[in-house]
C-alpha cells in the first residue's frame, strides 16, 4: 500500500510539474486494459504490444515492419548451424539504472521458456542459452531454424538483478496461487517508463530520458485508459478526453470522420479471414463427411459471393483475398490471390457430381466476439450455402465457448482469422494451421487434415536458412493449400484507429499494433 501511495504522490507531482512545462501528453483510449505489467504472464498480444513501450527485445520491427537490431547490435549463426551468437548493444541501462548485459538475456529467455510460462510457445525452437562474455550470448536451438529473429521480436528482456532481488525469476504460476512481483512492477530498457498503474482506470508511462536510441516521437507522457464501451469511447474522443484510440467502432466511422476535431485512420489488417472444413470420417450429425472431397470444398467456395460480402457486410472496407496470407507477408506471390469466381450453378453441379445429398446438415461455427462483423458475414455465407441446397446450422457464441468445440473437433465448418503474428511470415500459418497435427505443428489444424507433401515442404522450410530458398518452399506449400482448397480465404479485414486533431503523426501499422515511439503530437495543445 505504501508504494502505491508513493506512486500516487509522484504522479500528482509529475502532474503539477507537467502543467508548468506544457508536456506532450497522449491519452490513449483502448478498448480494454492490459492484464498485468508482466508481459510473460498471459498469452495476450495486446498486453505484449503495450508493454513493448517499456520492455524491448533483442530485435524489433521498424516502421515498415522489417526486423532491425534493438538490444542486439548484430548476430551470426555459428558453424554447427544451431547456435546463434548475439552481440549486445553497449551502454544500455534498465529504467532502474542497472546496466544491460548478457546475464539479463539468459535470465529472460529462461523465464519465458519456463514450463509454467504460458508464452513458452513463442520460442518453439529454443533449447538453452549461455553467457559468452558481458555483451555476447549464445542461443542454442533444437535444429536449424530460420525464424528465431521473428520470434525474438516479442521476447522482452528483463533485468536479471531486479528479478533475483524480487524473486521474479520464474513467471507467475496461477496454479500455485501466489502473486508475482513483476505483475505490479516493470523495469525494462524501452522508450517509456511505467509511472503508475491503476487497473481498469489508468496506466501512465513517461518518457525515458536515458533511452539508448534516438527518439522519433515527441511524447512526454502516455496515459492508457481503457474504455470498454464503444459508444463511450467515441464520445470521449469527440469531447477530446482521449486523443487516440486503436479501436474505432466500424459503425461510428462516418460520424467520427465528420467531426471537425477527429481524424480517422483506416487501413487493411494483415489478418486473413478464412473458412475451414472438417476432414474427419463423419460429421457431428453422424453422417458421412463429404468435405473430404476437394470438389465439395470447391462447390462451397464458388457458392460464396465475395463481392457482395465485401460491399454489404464489410462496407467496401475489406480486401478480397484469394491467398491465405496478406500481400505484405513474405512468401506471398500474386498468383496465390487468384479467385475461382462466384458461380452457384457450377457449385450445385459439383455437389451433385460428388453425390452430396440435398439439404445436407452441418454445423457452421462462428464467434460473436471474434473477427470484424463476423456474425453478419457468417449469416450471409450460411444463406449462400442454403441457396445451393445445403442446410448449414449456424452456431454463434463467444470465443471462450466456441474454442473448446473447435479444438476438440466437436463442430464441422468454422471461421478462422490469421494475421501471422508474431512472426509476420507465411511460415506461421503453414506450421500452425496447414501442417498435420504433431507437437508444435498443426495446433490450429482443427479440421484434422494431413497432406504429406505440404508437411514435407513446411519441414524443409523450417530448417532452410537461406531466405529465398525458404520463401520458395513456403510459396509452393501455399499453392498446394490453395489448389486443394484446404481452407477458403475470404478477405483481409478492415481496421480503424482514430486520433484528435492535435495528434500530428500516428503511423498506422497493418498488424494493428500501435507503436507510440513513432507518434508526434502538437506541442501547443
Amino acid at each position: 500500500m505504501k508504494t502505491r501511495n508513493l506512486l500516487l504522490i509522484s504522479a500528482a507531482l509529475a502532474g503539477l510539474s507537467g502543467a508548468a512545462q506544457a508536456e506532450n501528453v497522449l491519452t490513449w483510449g483502448a478498448n480494454r486494459d492490459i492484464g498485468s505489467l508482466d508481459p510473460y504472464s498471459y498469452g495476450d498480444s495486446f498486453t505484449i504490444n503495450v508493454l513493448n513501450h517499456v520492455y524491448e527485445g533483442l530485435v524489433r520491427y521498424d516502421k515498415d515492419l522489417k526486423i532491425e537490431p534493438a538490444l542486439a547490435e548484430s548476430w551470426e549463426i555459428l558453424e554447427d548451424n544451431i547456435t546463434w551468437r548475439f552481440h549486445l548493444r553497449e551502454g544500455v541501462t534498465f529504467h532502474n539504472g542497472n546496466p544491460f548485459t548478457a546475464e539479463d538475456v539468459v535470465a529472460s529467455l529462461t523465464r519465458v521458456s519456463d514450463e509454467t510460462s504460458p508464452l513458452k510457445g513463442n520460442l518453439p525452437a529454443y533449447v538453452s542459452s549461455e553467457v559468452v562474455d558481458d555483451l555476447t550470448v549464445d542461443v542454442t536451438l533444437n535444429g536449424t531454424y530460420p525464424l528465431l529473429l521473428n520470434d525474438l521480436t516479442n521476447i522482452h528482456i528483463f533485468d536479471n538483478e531486479w528479478m533475483t532481488e524480487n524473486n521474479a525469476l520464474k513467471p507467475t504460476d496461477i496454479g500455485a496461487g501466489t502473486e508475482g512481483y513483476a505483475t505490479y512492477n516493470a523495469n525494462g530498457t524501452g522508450p517509456f517508463v511505467v509511472e503508475s498503474r491503476q487497473p481498469d482506470a489508468k496506466t501512465v508511462f513517461v518518457v525515458n530520458p536515458d533511452w539508448w536510441d534516438e527518439p522519433q516521437h515527441n511524447l512526454d507522457r502516455i496515459e492508457l485508459t481503457p474504455v470498454t464501451s464503444a459508444a463511450t469511447r467515441v464520445a470521449a474522443l469527440l469531447s477530446g478526453e482521449i486523443n487516440f484510440t486503436n479501436d474505432a467502432p466500424v459503425q461510428d466511422l462516418p460520424r467520427l470522420a465528420a467531426a471537425p476535431n477527429v481524424k480517422v485512420l483506416e487501413g487493411v489488417d494483415l489478418r486473413t479471414v478464412m473458412i475451414g472444413f472438417p476432414f474427419r470420417e463423419t460429421l457431428t450429425t453422424g453422417e458421412a463427411n463429404p468435405f473430404k472431397d476437394r470438389n465439395v470444398r470447391e462447390a462451397l467456395y464458388r457458392a460464396i459471393d465475395l463481392d457482395l460480402i465485401h460491399q454489404r457486410v464489410m462496407r467496401g472496407k475489406s480486401r478480397i483475398a484469394g491467398a491465405t496470407i496478406a500481400p505484405e507477408i513474405p512468401g506471398y506471390v500474386e498468383a496465390l490471390d487468384d479467385l475461382p469466381g462466384f458461380d452457384p450453378d457450377a457449385a450445385r453441379n459439383l455437389l451433385a457430381e460428388a453425390g452430396v445429398p440435398e439439404g445436407l446438415e452441418f454445423e457452421f461455427n462462428c464467434l460473436s466476439d471474434g473477427l470484424v462483423n463476423e456474425e453478419q458475414f457468417c449469416q450471409a455465407i450460411a444463406s449462400m450455402w442454403t441457396r445451393i441446397g445445403l442446410s448449414p446450422k449456424l452456431d454463434v457464441a463467444p470465443r471462450a465457448v466456441q474454442s473448446p468445440k473447435r479444438t476438440n473437433g466437436a463442430t464441422d465448418v468454422y471461421t478462422l482469422g490469421w494475421a501471422t503474428l508474431p512472426l509476420l511470415d507465411s511460415y506461421s500459418p503453414l506450421l500452425q494451421i496447414f501442417h498435420s497435427k504433431d507437437g508444435n505443428a498443426g495446433v490450429f489444424n482443427w479440421g484434422d487434415w494431413s497432406y504429406p507433401e505440404v508437411d514435407a515442404l513446411i519441414d524443409a522450410a523450417g530448417s532452410e536458412l537461406d531466405l529465398t530458398a525458404r520463401l520458395n518452399l513456403q510459396t509452393q506449400a501455399l499453392q498446394i493449400v490453395k489448389d486443394e482448397m484446404i481452407m477458403i480465404p475470404l478477405h483481409q479485414q478492415p481496421m480503424a484507429w482514430a486520433v484528435t486533431e492535435n495528434v500530428a503523426d500516428m503511423p498506422l501499422f497493418s498488424d494493428n499494433k500501435p507503436r507510440l515511439w513513432f507518434a508526434m503530437v502538437d506541442s501547443d495543445s
Partner: protein
C-alpha cells in the same frame, strides 16, 4: 430469540452454499479459460498441462468442495487474467462501487422524496401529471441508455463533465475515495445520476402512495382544524409518517444497486466490482467470477438477514411466525 438467530444464520449459510453451487454449474457454460490464457503458438500438450495445473480436470464435486473450503477461509485464489489475489482485486474495486451506490442512493432520496410529496399534494395538477409520466419513462428506460444519453448531452455537446473514469482519487488507508478531489466529484455526477434514475422514480412513487394514504388520516384533519399551516402538516407531520417504508426499501435496494451498478460501470468505465466482473466473464476468469457472485450474494443475504432480525427484535410477533415459516425473506 437465540433459536431464531441460529435458524436465520443457518438459513443464510445455506443460501450462500446454494449460490456457490449454482455459480459452479453456470461456469461450465462459460467455456474454457485455458483457451484464453495461452497464446497462438502453445501446443495441445501445453494446454493439457495448464488445465491440469489449474485443477480444471478434477471432478465437479472436488472442485466445488475445494472452492467452498477455501472461500470460507477468505481465499478465492488468484485471477487467471490479472494474476493478482482475487480478494485484493475486489477490495481495491469495492470503494468505487460503494461510493457510486451511496451517492446514487442519496440522490434518489433527495430528489425522489420531494417529488413524491409534490405529486401527492397537488394530485391532479399538470405538474404532477407530467412528473408521473416522467417517472414511467424513468422506470422503463434501461440504465445504459440513460447513461449514453447523459454522456452525449453533458460530455460531448456541453463538455461540462467527463464521459468516463473516476477522476483523481485519494487513498485513506485501503479505501480510495473520489469524493475529496474536484475531478473525482465531477466524474461521480453522471454515473450516479444514471444509476439513480430508476431508484428516484421508485422512491417518488412510494412516497406518493404513502402520502395519499396518510393525508386521509384523522390526525391530519385535526391538525388542519387546529390551524397548523398546511405546508407544515404536509412536509412535517404527514411526510414523517411515510418515511419508515422508504428507509426499509432504500436499505434493501442497496444490494440491488450494487448488482445493477455493473451496467453503469461498463458504460462509464467506472473501475468498480461490476466492471471487474464483466471483464472476468469475457476472459472466463473463474476465480474472479466466483468471488464476485459470492460477495454480492453475501451482501444481499446479510441485508435481508439483518432486516429480518431487526423486525423480529422490534416486533415479537414475527419471531414465532418467522421461525415456523423458516424465514420470511430468505
Amino acid at each position: 430469540m437465540i433459536a431464531f438467530l441460529i435458524k436465520r444464520t443457518a438459513n443464510a449459510a445455506f443460501v450462500m452454499l446454494a449460490v456457490a453451487l449454482l455459480a459452479f454449474v453456470i461456469f461450465r457454460f462459460f467455456g474454457d479459460p485455458v483457451e484464453m490464457m495461452v497464446n497462438e503458438q502453445a501446443t495441445q500438450q501445453d494446454r493439457i498441462e495448464l488445465r491440469e495445473r489449474l485443477g480444471l480436470n478434477d471432478g465437479f464435486v472436488t472442485q466445488y468442495t475445494r472452492f467452498v473450503t477455501n472461500a470460507v477461509q477468505g481465499d478465492f485464489g488468484i485471477s487467471y487474467r490479472n494474476q493478482q489475489d482475487v480478494m485484493v482485486l475486489i477490495k481495491d474495486r469495492f470503494p468505487a462501487t460503494f461510493e457510486l451506490v451511496l451517492v446514487a442512493t442519496v440522490i434518489s432520496l433527495v430528489v425522489g422524496i420531494p417529488l413524491g410529496v409534490l405529486t401527492a399534494v397537488h394530485r391532479d395538477s399538470r405538474l404532477a401529471n407530467i412528473l408521473q409520466l416522467g417517472s414511467i419513462i424513468g422506470v422503463s428506460l434501461p440504465s445504459f441508455v440513460v447513461g449514453i444519453l447523459l454522456i452525449l448531452a453533458f460530455s460531448v455537446s456541453l463538455g461540462w463533465l467527463p464521459a468516463f473514469g473516476r477522476g483523481d482519487t485519494v487513498d485513506i488507508g485501503w479505501w480510495s475515495t473520489g469524493l475529496l478531489t474536484p475531478s473525482g466529484r465531477m466524474a461521480l455526477i453522471l454515473p450516479s445520476l444514471s444509476l439513480s434514475t430508476f431508484q428516484i422514480t421508485l422512491v417518488m412513487r412510494l412516497v406518493r402512495a404513502e402520502m395519499l394514504e396518510t393525508l386521509r388520516a384523522d390526525y391530519i384533519k385535526f391538525a388542519r382544524a387546529r390551524g397548523v399551516p398546511i405546508r407544515r402538516v404536509q412536509w412535517r407531520h404527514a411526510l414523517r409518517n411515510c418515511l419508515m417504508p422508504v428507509i426499509t426499501l432504500t436499505g434493501m435496494q442497496i444490494g440491488n444497486l450494487i448488482a445493477f451498478a455493473l451496467v453503469t460501470e461498463t458504460v462509464f468505465q467506472w473501475p468498480g466490482m461490476g466492471l471487474l466482473f464483466i471483464q472476468a466473464v469475457t476472459f472466463v476468469d473463474i476465480p474472479v467470477m466466483a468471488a464476485y457472485l459470492m460477495i454480492v450474494s453475501f451482501i444481499f443475504v446479510a441485508l435481508n438477514t439483518l432486516v429480518d432480525i431487526t423486525y423480529a427484535w422490534v416486533d415479537p410477533r414475527l419471531r414465532d411466525d418467522a421461525a415456523r415459516a423458516g424465514g420470511a425473506n430468505g
